[in-house]
């Protein structure tokens, strides 16, 4: 083996540590950046995603807000108007609902409404999703609520490196971004991350495993599940591609259409309820654009159309490898 190591791969971090490092990088690189949210200062936030940042950058740049998501997301919009680049933390998925109004009514529309005079450089980070034995309102997957709003971007990482790179890119892109962090895999294991996170194309899906017979479309914590399912499919003689969407709005249509054309079968996996979920959008897109190239209908393996259940039923409500395999079989047999 030669002496050459992966450039700058200095440390192994888990996803939440990667978020922390990316936030530190943002504060270091961009003097206009600041962080706000509940309890993010000395305590480093409920998930410790901002651990150490107040000490490093001072309580003016990393500050606690009163409890009031509508108020502090509104305040963040005001910070943007003065030329600052705030990154807001919302503690849990459903606590974004009080702020929904600011995000939908103003944040997403500001550039358009002012005829291009003023865009907002705002990132709202939201730990989201189930699988942590937390109850409803602490396990929600609200992506399509935000992904229905032109002007907002919705971005979801699936591992430490994508978390860091996507967060840095989201903060620099000039659009307001709802950055959904799959909290279930916050501490899923560490992987090598670079000293500095380089930017990445924000609207690009990533083929995290290639294959010819079927594409599993997933994002967030479901990518891990899709990869596990792909391994099982491989053993059964089916070569499955796994496409990690990363950007839910806008969608990477090109990668989706390529997957459909090249593998003929597309199966979507998400935790959010099925009704009006992202799977519906993907299926509709494929139907509109490449219906004649599909070898099987696009199926969806999703969460249930119900509030997120209490811990004892959690596993039944979430997609599982078995459910993915069953759906894949239906498509292969079609």
């Amino acid at each position: 083996m030669s002496e050459v190591t992966a450039p700058q791969a200095t440390q192994e971090l888990n996803l939440v540590e990667a978020v922390d490092r990316a936030l530190g990088q943002i504060l270091e690189d961009d003097p206009q950046a600041l962080l706000l949210g509940e309890d993010i200062g000395a305590n480093g936030g409920v998930f410790r995603a901002t651990a150490g940042l107040e000490a490093r950058f001072g309580p003016d740049r990393v500050f606690d807000t009163p409890l009031g998501e509508a108020g502090f997301v509104g305040a963040a919009l005001g910070l943007c108007l003065a030329g600052l680049h705030p990154v807001v933390e919302i503690q849990f998925d459903a606590f974004s609902y009080p702020a929904f109004e600011q995000l939908v009514s103003h944040v997403g529309r500001f550039r358009w409404r002012t005829g291009g005079h003023y865009g907002l450089r705002l990132v709202v980070r939201v730990p989201y999703g189930g699988g942590t034995r937390a109850p409803e309102l602490h396990s929600d997957s609200p992506e399509t609520l935000f992904g229905h709003v032109p002007g907002l971007r919705v971005v979801v990482p699936s591992d430490p490196v994508s978390a860091g790179r996507l967060l840095v890119s989201a903060q620099g892109c000039g659009d307001p971004v709802v950055f959904l962090e799959p909290k279930r895999i916050y501490r899923r294991g560490r992987s090598p991350v670079p000293e500095r996170f380089g930017p990445t194309e924000l609207d690009r899906a990533a083929v995290v495993r290639d294959g010819d017979d079927l594409t599993l479309v997933a994002y967030g914590a479901m990518v891990e599940l899709a990869l596990a399912a792909a391994t099982r499919l491989e053993a059964a003689g089916c070569s499955a591609r796994v496409l990690d969407l990363r950007s839910l709005y806008p969608l990477d249509r090109e990668s989706l259409l390529a997957a459909a054309e090249e593998t003929g079968r597309v199966l979507v996996v998400h935790e959010a309820p099925r009704h009006c979920g992202l799977g519906a959008e993907v299926a509709a897109l494929l139907q509109e654009e490449v219906a004649d190239r599909l070898l099987a209908p696009t199926l969806r393996v999703t969460g249930m159309n119900m509030p997120f259940p209490l811990f004892q039923n959690e596993d039944d409500a979430l997609p599982s490898v078995e459910r993915v395999l069953a759906a894949a079989q239906v498509m292969l047999d079609y």
Partner: protein
Amino acid sequence: MYRQLVLIRRFEEHAAEAYAQAKIGGFLHLYIGEEAVAVGAINAVRETDHLLTHYRDHGYALVRGCDPKACMAELFGREDGLCHGRGGSMHLAEAARHFWGGYAIVGSHIPIGAGMAYAMQYQERDEVVLDFFGDGATGNGIFHEGLSMAALWNLPVIFICENNLYGMGATLAEESPVSEMRIKAEGYTMPSIQCDGMDVLSVYEALGKAAEHCRSGKGPYFVEAMTYRFRGHSMADPELYRDKSEVQRWRVRDPIPSFGDWCVEHGVCSSQELAQINEEVEGEMLEAVAFAEQSPWPDPAEVGRWIYAKPIDPESPARSEGAGAAVPLTSDAGV
């Protein structure tokens, strides 16, 4: 200031006429009767100070110096509008003049003003923020979140409540447990002052005091301007909730002739000069309407523009930007 009072009045009278002729669509909320608040307040502060307002926003834009032609064209939904015909009557905004817009969701801009004020403090800028809203807005929880943050962080923001006795058709008694909104600021230990919103000098004086307070680092200030709108809530208001005689009583206190009289009495100018101002403004407004009428409509292929920093949604007409290709309008255009 007299000219500005007349400017708002005549601008809105012409807008109302155009609305009646269906040249302006959507809603139109007139400020007629309340002009002294915007004029007194904005003249009492610096041009660099920041303004945010509710949807009854034409007056603030005009006093801040936004081009009346562009404002009228915005109401008409035309390309030459202040926001290229995207924002409309309720969302006038001009970043260069530190006029950060009207907001149609009642109360929702109150914390935005607090955030701007945080930035002023953080950036050590000697600028204060003026956050205007109505009595009805104080019933929304977001009002309290905004005041809470402003007081907690000692921010240079002036909250100006235009108490015009009604929130749409709801009377104060129906919408608020207290009839004086400044009482609500007391819970946040915020100093407040009440002024006569029909008297431009009273508002001017109150805002001068409030701005000095904010600028000297003493934190937020609450101003309650007691005022009255002569017209309906919007053009569609049948006004069943109030008596015509009540409106007549308030019209006696019309801020424009009263201030005109004051100017003449104090030798600021002659009544001929006032008449001449009226005439000049009327001429400008005729020009503004003509300008709006001849301004082109936004190109339908471009209605999806400015949704993102770069045109990125392939289904949106924004795709055509630069490429010149005519991409058909789809539902993604958000029209």
